[in-house]
């Protein structure tokens, strides 16, 4: 297995406040990792820094993607390399139909990779089909991006986009929050369907319940900007049973 993503001693923050205090993490192709941790531990910051949100500052360290440091790249260049972020709070883009948005995005990605634009008709039928399956109604693709979508529909829309854009590395930032159990299972199903030896996932979550359906290879606990414990799926189970306090006590000890 070769490393797809290597994060080395990453220190980053926002407005001069350091939030990530030296993260080290390697994710191989084909793996799914989960990052858990209490509020404020830096989980979302890690997601934003990987995707390149301009408000965040990187003080030290590297994020290698397929061996190349991506920290100097623009967000769209990272996306073009195959990095996808499912947002914790997806925004609304009024008046821009979801179908047009997705087609534009996919064609931008394809152009950057030297590929032909996608065939309009087959893209339309695929998008309709997936929208029906994932969001429950195909007519949403003609509405503005997330315009009038409920919180749950926005999360499902992130999964729809991930399926259509087919990234190599997907970071899912609290994709499970605000979803009922059926929606959660559906999201997990689509993640599982996409898993293959070339692709990797990083799931950021507070809760064990999505992991039960996805079963990640590795689980990391983030606390105060550092990974304080890594393990397999059983670590998530342990946190579920005993809470974070137990773990943090043992870290401090």
């Amino acid at each position: 297995m070769k490393p797809l993503v290597e994060i080395r001693n990453l220190r980053a923050g926002i407005d001069g406040k350091e939030i990530l205090k030296g993260i080290n993490l390697t994710i191989n192709s084909g793996e799914t990792h989960a990052i858990m941790g209490p509020n404020g531990s830096g989980k979302s910051t890690l997601a934003q820094v990987i995707a390149g949100h301009p408000a965040y500052e990187v003080y030290e360290g590297e994020v290698l993607f397929e061996g190349e440091n991506i920290l100097e790249l623009e967000p769209e260049e990272r996306a073009q390399k195959g990095i996808f972020l499912a947002f914790q709070a997806p925004v609304e883009i009024p008046g821009v139909p979801l179908l047009e948005f997705l087609k534009t995005a996919l064609n931008e990605l394809r152009e950057a990779r030297g590929q032909e634009p996608v065939d309009t008709m087959s893209f339309l039928s695929k998008t309709r089909e997936l929208a029906k399956e994932i969001i429950g109604k195909e007519e949403v693709i003609y509405r503005g991006v997330n315009e009038g979508f409920s919180g749950g529909e926005r999360k499902r829309n992130e999964i729809l986009q991930m399926r259509l854009l087919e990234p190599k590395f997907a970071v899912l930032d609290e994709i499970d929050s605000g979803l009922d159990i059926d929606a959660l299972k559906l999201v997990a199903k689509h993640i599982n369907e996409m898993r293959n030896p070339e692709r990797a996932f990083l799931l950021i979550t507070h809760y064990y319940r999505i992991l039960e359906h996805v079963k990640p290879e590795k689980v990391h606990i983030l606390y105060d900007g550092k990974i304080v414990r890594s393990g397999d799926y059983n670590l998530a189970l342990e946190v579920e049973e005993k809470g974070y306090d137990w773990l943090l006590e043992s870290v401090k000890a």
Partner: protein, 486 residues
């Protein structure tokens, strides 16, 4: 027009019409200043008949008394130093062209925009004022079209030509919708107008082409006091497009145009504008002052007037394309997208004056403010007692980019007939870093992302534009906002 209607119109409109300007002058010909001799000089240069000179002189006297009474309007949401009208030169011979030997001498900023808009090389040269050897395709195309139009009885020529060749038509309609005394700037324009366009479409004729799409290079040469008169006779149709997406620079800072549209029974006029005059530098220095009076008269039953405007340029815009819905069952629509960036100030909107029965109007205004720009929607819907069952719908949306710009909405609705209905909706939104980052995370660069967001916001307006201009206009919107986000 019957006198009482004319009075009513004047009463409704004149008090609100005001503006202001400023003007450094770099060029030539007529000595600076305005007086009766200058008016005579202009009229003589243009070889006008006596009646036209009298018309101008009358307008000048109106303007002069307005000026003496201090009636230059200052109510718009725009700030600029006082204008010295005696320092402006009011007549310049057709501009000496070319100014440049090759395209390389033209401001790189302008060339970059030409390229982004995808304007053909030969047209770029003509627009920028570079010497062109080859005969421009569009010129010969224009000649061909003009012949075809003549065969159909359509008159389409400069207003100076029309004054000489079709004096009866011009006399009958000139100043009937925007009388010289309408407002300070309309009076100034009536006194000194340089040139403009005249269109007459005879009864039952549908003009087969978009007037002036092939005409855009000529449009680049329009003067600072332009005058346009379009008359659509019974059951005729015409679509006219003014302006151009390419950036226009001009040595004259003060522009005061007048446009009059007249639609008789069953006639339809569509008037589209793409305005991209020089905005000035980051501090707004040198930008054009664009003070325009545009008004249409739905004179006949079942007539229809549509205004579509994409306002991107000028440092100060004062412009309210309006319609008087006089004929029963007449319809008017106003679609506008206005951008203010850098130090631009735009005070723009419309007036819909309902007089006839069952008249309907629809207003869709989209204002986008960025940089230190200020964008004001100023609208008036007036439903007179005679307007049984009149309907109006107004939608007025503002988008803010950054924290230093402003959006203002000044609607006025007056309904004097109990059977009438007027609806008004307004929203304000913001393009922030987060929405932009979302798009970029999906693979769109900043320019594409802005183009997409803005075209979504302005969709209802852009889709009213003639097809070939809609694409350019969409690009133009995103280019003019480049670098303003994040």
């Amino acid at each position: 027009m019957p006198e009482e209607v004319q009075k009513e119109i004047e009463e409704v409109l004149s008090r609100d019409y005001e503006w202001g300007f400023v003007a450094p002058i770099e060029e030539e010909v007529a000595p600076p200043g305005i007086n009766e001799d200058i008016i005579r000089y202009i009229s003589e240069k243009k070889e006008e008949p006596e009646w036209m000179l009298e018309w101008r002189l009358k307008a000048y006297r109106i303007w002069k008394s307005m000026w003496e009474r201090g009636e230059e309007p200052h109510w718009a949401y725009a700030h600029y130093p006082p204008i010295d009208y005696q320092s402006i030169s009011y007549y310049a011979a057709p501009k000496k062209r070319p100014k440049y030997g090759s395209l390389e001498e033209v401001d790189p900023e302008i060339r970059r925009m030409f390229e982004k808009l995808g304007i053909p090389l030969e047209e770029q040269k003509a627009l920028a004022g570079v010497a062109v050897d080859a005969v421009l395709d569009s010129v010969s195309v224009a000649t061909t079209y003009r012949k075809k139009l003549e065969e159909m009885g359509i008159i389409f020529m400069s207003i100076s030509e029309a004054i000489r060749e079709h004096p009866d038509l011009v006399k009958k309609y000139l100043g009937t919708v925007v009388p010289p005394g309408d407002n300070f700037f309309a009076a100034l324009n009536a006194a000194v107008f340089s040139d403009g366009t005249f269109v007459y479409v005879p009864p039952g004729v549908k003009c087969p082409i978009e007037l002036s799409t092939y005409f855009r290079i000529n449009a680049a040469r329009t003067g600072q006091f332009e005058r346009t008169l379009i008359v659509a006779d019974k059951n005729s149709y015409v679509s006219y497009l003014e302006g151009c997406t390419a950036p226009m620079r001009d040595e004259h800072q003060l522009h005061a145009a007048v446009v009059e549209l007249i639609a008789l029974d069953g006639a339809e006029i569509k008037y589209s504008t793409v305005q991209n005059w020089w905005t000035g530098d980051e501090e707004g220095r040198g930008g054009i002052y664009n003070f325009v009076t545009k008004r249409g008269l739905c004179a006949g039953k079942n007539s229809r007037i549509m205004w579509v405007q994409v306002e991107v340029g000028s440092v100060i815009t004062w412009k309210y394309p309006s319609t008087i819905l006089k004929g029963d069952n007449s319809v008017s629509e106003f679609y506008s997208v206005a951008i203010t960036n850098k130090r631009q100030q735009a005070d723009t909107g419309t007036k819909m004056i309902h007089i006839g029965k069952n008249t309907r109007s629809r207003i869709v205004s989209k204002g986008i403010s960025a940089g230190y720009g200020n964008n004001t929607y100023r609208g008036m819907v007036k439903i007179l007692p005679s307007a049984e069952n009149a309907r109006n719908y107004t939608q007025c949306d503002s988008m803010l980019i950054g924290n230093n710009c402003g959006a203002h909405t000044v609607p006025s609705i007056e309904v004097r007939n109990p059977t009438a209905v007027s609806e008004h909706e307004a929203t304000t939104s913001r393009i922030g870093e987060d929405i932009l980052f979302y798009c970029r995370q999906r693979g769109l660069d900043e320019e594409k992302a802005i183009e997409l967001i803005i075209s979504g916001f302005a969709k209802e307006v852009l889709r009213q534009l003639p097809m070939e201009f809609a694409v350019e206009a969409r690009k133009l919107l995103s280019i003019s906002l480049e670098g303003s986000v994040g």
